[in-house]
Amino acid sequence: MKKNLSHKEIMAIERVKMPEQDPQQRSRNFQEVNLGLSKQQAMREAQRCLQCKSQPCVDGCPVRVRIPEFLEAIAEDNLPLAAHILLKDNTLPAVCGRVCPQEDQCEVLCVRSAKSGPVAVGHLERYVADWAMQNPDKLLKQDRPEPSGKTVAVVGSGPAGLTMAGELAHMGHQVTVFEALHETGGVLRYGIPEFRLPKNIVDAEVERLERLGVTIECNVIVGKTLTLEDLTRQFDAVFIGNGAGLPMMLNIEGENLKGVFSANEYLTRVNLMGAWRNDLPTPIIQGRRVVVIGGGNTAMDAVRTARRLGAERAIILYRRSEEEMPARVEEIKHAKEEGIEFILLAAPLEILGDDKGWVAGLRCQRMKLGEPDDSGRRRPQPIEGDTFLLEADVVVNAIGTRPNPLLTATAGNLKLSPKGNIATDENCATNIPGVFAGGDIVRGGATVILAMGDGKKAAAAIDNYLRKSS
């Protein structure tokens, strides 16, 4: 059907708009915000792809999904083929289609960007992945690899570990994933909320890996239950993808008052432990006025969660301006639509409490932007004497995380960076032969797709290592 369209007709198609739940309504429930494209919408959007030879979008994708090819299959109404192409390069497409910053990766490089907006690759990725999930019987058979007889241990079941496991399983290696928590998924499970990434999606992606023969063992904390040495002894190779799970503290007065949370705790209570549901026992403090400190995805997730838990006012407090916010554009837009307030160019000086030990508010410092720092963003500087008070009964600290030392502290001679991240070469190899690492533990807090990119790269390196050592 695509063949019937002239270039002019293709150019005339406008970029699809993702159907969304009404902002008023959704700011009070935990159902997914984005509703997904219809078949017509998806086919029409896929037709917008010009199938250009240079394929700049593929270069923008950390796992190099063959984007034009799967878009063409959608346009031709061949979803089994589209799914086949997508799943070959991306182990977690239903996740990526929801949380990847496509606007900075594939889409930003799309030749159609300048005039009518890039092809909505992310939305289409989600469309195909969801179709694949609902139609497992229609998927093209993937070749079962010859078992290699080699075993690999993976530490952590976040996107890095899961991608790694999927890739290696496809290559015929026997993979065991060790996860510290009682559920899989890492940040996908405990950090990113239901309304952005429904947990049945994570379940389905993990089940698909298990069907590939990957073994997953929860409740194993490497560094405590087993040591890295145990793993190197029992397995032919090890991949460490244990994330950056250690919250940075604000180090200001009042941080330990009741009602002050790290974003990790706040989101873990709500997501992993299900505190948003009435039928589960884990409690959460439902603030009336919630202030979230930070400007990243985590801050947006926390503040939008607070709103859904019933906050009358849910406020972002960020020390730079909107332009420097690391959060995805879509999250900021959605937050605004949901009535989230933004107090920009301001930082907390002190958290104030009442006489019962509960948080009552914050004393804040107004900031201005100075010279760029090493991250290239303009450095915030205090405006002397310009402070103000902000009332709050819940405060969430979302300023970032650092590498958790639980594993590395017991890993003897494993080489670390000065910040405590695991040091690796360009193939994700650490200084210990046969031990590889990737994702946030190497990069610091980054993104799902970069963690997956590492998983994929490390899988190739491990495959190479295993074949050489046999």
């Binding site: 510290a180 928590l181 009682h182 929860c218 409740n219 194993v220 904390i221 405590k224 239950t225 087993l226 799970g245 250690l246 919250p247 503290m249 941080e255 330990n256 009741k258 009602g259 949370f261 790290s262 990790n264 705790e265 873990t268 209570r269 432990m273 299900g274 039928d279 589960l280 026992p281 884990t282 409690p283 403090i285 030990g357 958790n404 030392p405 639980l406």
Partner: protein
């Protein structure tokens, strides 16, 4: 899944559970704990590992039902599983040869104390044990602790066993006696008890180690919910503790943070059937 092999009653509403957990049994050191997630959708509950048998692949837990989730654990019969157990977590007890040590246990804290006391005795310390409780049925492990203690002193609030009074009375007596005055004290029990012990020992400059029990979720340093203040600095009890120098602990903060979800917890207990409510012990925090 972690099968419960034994579950018997030690004191009113305190159960002793032996659970199959081979990896934890092998790795565990005195002073460490596990996090138990008894069933899908349940809470994650930190519990000290009282004992472990690496050969049998089992760990022993002493559990007091203090709310709906702990009640679920104590109510798991032999042959049935607990869904998730993660550990061993936290730092091990810093076992040194101090010379003379006093171990003080209050209520179910006595069970937490047991492995420490044993390890201290094994390391050549002369151990005197003080056990306190509301009344006679709440005094646990006196015989077991007696096996390696030079003396076991028992205090009950109502005088139904040992002498009437508090563990602090017994400790004061030991401190006042130059032959029995300890070089170090290990105290585990309700927060007010641990605090009272620390207040008592502080003027004498006797090193006092306490085991803290803040609210936890992951137990791996990921959430920071378990934070406590030690010598003015914020620490995560699950990874930096659970044992700390009692003279440096901000007990006010600990007690206050333990009350954070009091209303929600009360509501959960409220929803339990009448027959189960009596199985829950109200703890002083």
């Amino acid at each position: 899944m972690f099968e419960v092999l034994e579950n018997d009653t030690l004191a009113p509403n305190v159960q002793r559970l032996v659970v199959r957990a081979p990896r934890i049994a092998k790795a565990r050191k005195p002073g460490q704990f596990v996090i138990v997630h008894p069933e899908k959708g349940g809470e994650r509950i930190p519990l000290t590992i009282a004992d472990a048998d690496p050969e049998e692949g089992t760990i022993t837990l002493f559990v007091q039902a203090v709310g709906a989730s702990t009640l679920k654990i104590t109510g798991t019969p032999p042959g049935s599983p607990l869904l998730d157990i993660a550990g061993p977590l936290g730092k091990e007890t810093d076992i040194e040869n101090w010379g003379r040590v006093v171990c003080v246990g209050g209520g179910v804290g006595t069970a937490v104390l047991y492995p420490q006391a044993k390890a201290l005795a094994d390391a050549g310390n002369e151990v005197t044990t003080i056990i306190g409780g509301r009344s006679a049925p709440f005094i646990i492990l006196a015989n077991e602790l007696g096996r390696f203690s030079r003396e076991v002193l028992i205090t009950t609030e109502d005088g139904s066993l040992g002498r009437q009074g508090f563990v602090t009375n017994a400790l004061q007596e030991l401190i006042d006696d130059p032959q029995r005055c300890p070089q170090a004290i290990f105290a585990v029990g309700p927060v007010p008890m641990m605090r009272a012990i620390c207040e008592l020992s502080r003027p004498y400059g006797i090193k006092t180690i306490v085991s803290l029990n803040p609210i936890m979720i992951d137990g791996t340093g990921m959430c920071g919910g378990c934070r406590v203040k030690i010598a003015g600095e914020t620490k995560f009890a699950c990874v930096d503790g659970p044992e700390f120098d009692g003279h440096q602990v901000d007990f006010d903060l600990l007690m206050d943070r333990l009350t954070m979800y009091r209303e929600q917890e009360a509501r959960l207990v409220e929803d339990l059937p009448e027959s189960l409510k009596s199985k829950i012990t109200k703890v002083k925090r």
